[in-house]
Symmetry: C2
Subunit: 200 residues, 2 copies
DNA sequence: TTAATTTAATTTACGCTGTTAATTGTACAC
DNA sequence: GTGTACAATTAACAGCGTAAATTAAATTAA
């Protein structure tokens, strides 16, 4: 039946319309201030119409998390791709890319890594985007150890420590912008150097 | 007038009763799930009675933050006091005490340092408790630099970098307990060592 | 001691939230 | 054309933070 297929397309389009409205509202108003009714109003539907496409508000949130995480992964990969080819440069590039993503997409960072980290496990990025962020980091760490630019150690342990420091600087700069940070860029550079030195 | 003074005492007691109920509920149900109505029910008052003592729910939150921050400061000071007397030991003790506070009071840590960090500036701890947490850290860093166990550098920059890494490990362990952390205690030890080495 | 005044507590109410249930309208199959 | 499936709407529920009006109790003044 062609009507069936067209219907499927319509469902997909409607879902798309909903999450586009949701993203826009959440970027401007902040996530917690966006209600189902506001989303519905933006797309000119009644509030409960949305429930034909998403079971709950949390399901929309999950979709937003997927989108944000996809952008996050691309940022990391781009950062690494643009770097020099040696293992240390690639590792540093990934660290800088992580922080840079947070600072240029604070709402997404907050949503993914601060407020809903526990939901991340359940979210599978589509298809070939399987290389998750942390796996990328562990690969770069292992690479650096193999090339001898990083002291050999448990790869998981070192990667987790690096992630922790990355998250710390990013989360603090985002959630506490009015703290008297010495010098934004200087602090970031110092932190990245300290992280590398710390595990070297 | 003695009636006036007695009244002041009653107000203080009522406030105390309210925040005690609020703390209990928030510790068991999680902060966002505690409503004014639930607090009121617990202390056997009507919901709006609370508004004679706290202007809003946020004012109760601020009180909780103050309590939590007070516990936090005491934990830090205790940790330092119990350590060896040399500057490096004292600094390490403060780092460990920070993480330990987060792990033993995850709800308070989440409330203060993850969800409401921006409110922290406005909160002044009572009386002689003026030594704020970050100031304590900077003092220990300066001390360590003066004793020559830490490379001389901008004290603010180093302290902020250390705080960032502390926050990172603490926040991640709290908000993502189900992530496959190599070895909780081992990771913490490694992180503290890496932090010190990074700024040495 | 009684009357007037202050003030603490309650009830009522408003506008919001996420979500369920019942209802309406419309496009399709037979 | 009639019956059925289903998308969208309206109505409704239980909850939220909080403002306003009202009641009740305590304190002060006469």
């Amino acid at each position: 039946m062609s009507t069936n297929e067209r219907r499927k397309k319509e469902i997909k389009e409607m879902k798309q319309e909903i999450i586009e409205a949701a993203v826009q509202l959440f970027l401007s108003d902040g996530y917690e201030n966006v209600s189902m009714r506001k989303i519905a109003k933006k797309i000119q539907y009644s509030p409960t119409a949305i429930y034909n496409y998403f079971a709950s508000k949390e399901e929309i949130l999950k979709q937003l998390l997927m989108n944000g995480y996809s952008i996050f992964l691309n940022s990391l990969k781009e950062g690494v791709a643009k770097s020099e080819e040696d293992a240390l440069s690639r590792l540093k590039a990934s660290l800088n890319a992580y922080i840079h993503f947070g600072l240029s997409h604070p709402d997404y960072y907050r949503l993914i890594f601060i407020e809903n980290l526990h939901l991340l496990q359940k979210i599978i990025i589509d298809e070939d985007d399987r290389t998750k962020g942390f796996q990328l980091l562990t690969e770069l760490v292992a690479e650096a150890m193999n090339e001898g630019v990083l002291k050999k150690n448990e790869v998981q342990l070192v990667s987790q420590s690096l992630w922790a420091s990355l998250h710390g600087i990013t989360a603090l700069l985002i959630t506490f912008p009015d703290f008297g940070w010495s010098d934004f860029d200087g602090l970031i550079r110092f932190q990245v150097e300290a992280m590398i030195k710390g595990v070297s």
